[in-house]
Amino acid sequence: MREAKSKYHFRNEVRKSLKPRVEELKFSLHRITRSPLSLIGLTLILVFATVAILAPQLAPPKRLYEPYQIPRDGYAATPQPPSTEHVFGTTEGQYDIYYGVIWGTRTAFRIGFMVVGATMLIGLFLGSLAGYYGGLVDEVIMRLVDIFMSIPTLILAMAIVTALGHSLDNVVKALIIVGWPIYARLIRGEILQIREEDYVSAARAVGCPNALIILKHILPNSVYPMLILASLDIGAVVLVAAALSFLGLGAPVGYADWGQMVSFARNWIVGPPQNPLAYWHTITIPGLFMLFFVLGWNLLGDAFRDILDPRLRRR
C-alpha cells in the first residue's frame, strides 16, 4: 500500500540525489584542469571563442549589414602575400584573408552549435521515445536510423544540399538531417542498458514512479556520453561543412568561411617556378585555423571521455 507522496518529497529526492553529483562535478573540474591535453583543448577553444566574440572589433566590417562578406581590395586574380595592410595577405580576387579567418571563426561556431544543438535535441527526443516505449516505435525509429546511417555523411549531405540549393543555411539543414541518428542511437542504447541495471530494478522494487526513475537514474547516467559525443561532434561537423564549402556547395564566393577560403587556394598551390611556395598563405592560414579549432574540440572531447567515464576516473 503506497501512501500519497507530497510534491515536496519529489523535489527533495531530486535535490538529495544532486549533492554527490556536485561533488563528482568538482572532481571532474579538478581533473580537467590537471590534464595538460585537456587544458590545451580548453585554451584553444577559449581563444577561438574570444576571437569570435570580438570579431567586429578585430576586423571591422565594411558594410555593417553584411559582415560576413569579405571585403575586396581590387579585383586582380593573383593572391598577394602578407603585408602591413593585409596581415595575412589576400586570396584570388583580393579577398582579405585576415578578415575572412576572423569572421570565419564566427561562422564555424554558428555552424557547429546550430547543427550539434539541433541534432542533440532531435536525437535525444527520438532516441528516448525508442528506448522508453520499445516495440513498434522502437523498430520504426531504429530502421530510420539504420537507413540514414548507411550512407556516409558527406555523400548524403551532398545529395541534400544539391536538392535544396547551394547555400550555407542549406548545409546546416542537411547536416542536421544527416546528424541526428548517432545521438538517437546513443541515447536509446543508454536507456536500454540502464533499464536493465540492478539499481533501476531496485528503485522500481521500492515503488519509485517511472518519471522519477527516468529523472534520477536514467538521464544523469546517459548525459555524460552525450556530452562526450557532442564535443567530438562539433569538430566533425565543422570539418564536413568546410568540405562542402570547399566543393562549392556551401558558402557563396566571398563569404567568410574557412572551407570556402581554401577552395580559393585550389588554383594557387603551386607558385611560379622560382618561388613555388609563393601563395602558401592562401591555403595554410585558413587551414591552420580549421585544424586548431577542431583539435581543440577533439582534445576536450577526449579529455571528457577519460574524465567522465566512471571506470577510468580514479586510476
Partner: protein, 342 residues
Amino acid sequence: MKAYIIRRLLLLFVVLFGVSILVFAILSLFSPEQRASVFITDVKQLRDLQEIIQTHHLDAPIHIQYYYWVKALLRGDLGWSITAQRPVLEAFFYFLPNTIELALFSAPLIIIIGIWLGSVSAVHQNKLIDHTTRTLAIIGWSLPTFWFGLMLLMIFYGYFRGLLPPEALSTKSNLYVQSAEFVRYTRINTLDALLNWQPWILFDALRHLILPVITLTVVQCALVMRIMRSSMLEALGRGYITTARSKGASETTVVKRHARRNALIPVVTVSGWLIAGLAGGVVITETIFSRKGLGWWWARAAVQLDIPAILCAVLFNAILFVVTNLVVDLLYAYIDPRVTLK
C-alpha cells in the same frame, strides 16, 4: 550459417527499400521541370519539355512516380549524367577502377598501421611512444582532409618540383596506356601495368598514388589506432592475461596471442565504418588530386546539379555499407566463438 546469410540478404533488401524511399524523397524535392532535365541529352529537346514530363509520369501522384522510378532502376536505367555525358550506370563502371585502385592501396594500410600503432601504444601505456602516437592520432583526426591533401601537393608537387604529382598517370604514361599496345584488363592502372609487364607504368602509377593514399590513410588511421588502443588496454586488464603470465608465457606471447585476438574484436566492428569513411574521403581526395574516379564524378555532379549521378552515389554507398556490415558480422562470428549467428 547459410540461413543467416540469406536472412541478412533479405534484410538488405528491406534496407535498400528504405534507402530508395529516402533517395526518392530527395528526388521529389525537385520540381517536375528539373527532373525532366534528367532525361534531356540534347539542348533541342527543351522544346518537348512538357512531353517529356508526360511520358515519364513526372506530374503523376507520388506513388506512381515511385513505381516507374523503381522500374527504371531495376532495368539498370538510372538516368543520364550530365557531368559524365553518358548513362549513369555506364559512367559508374567507367569511374570505378580508379576509385578501387585508391581504396585497394589505402584500406590495408589503414588497418595494418592502425592496429599496429594502437597495439604498441597500449602495451607501452603512458610512455613516450604512447604519448607521441596519441598526439599524432588526435592531430590526424582533426585534420581537414582537403586541406591536408592540398598542403601535401604544395610541398611535394610544388616545392619539390613535381616529385609526387596529382592525377592518376603522367601524360606520357597516359598516352601509352590508351594506345593499342597496352591491354587494359581491369582498367586499374597498377594491376594492368603488372599484367602487361610494364614496370615503368607501374612505377608511374604508384608515384601518383603516394599522396592520395597518404591523405586518405592518415585521417582514418587515427580512428583505427584509437579504437585498437582502447580495446587493447581493456583486454590487457582482464583476468586471462594474469593467467597467461602465471603460466610462464613471455610478454610477447601474452600480448600477441592473448590480448590482441580479443582486442581485435571491436576493431572489426569499426571496419564497417571505415569503409563508409573512405567513401566520403574519396570524394575529397579525388577532387584535389584530379583522379577521375567515382568521388571526382560525384563532387562535380553535386556542383552542377547532376541529379542522377548524386542519387547513384547515395544508392551505391548504401549497398556498400550494408554488404560491408554483413561481411563484418560474419568475420565477427568467426573470430569470437561466443557470438552465435541468430
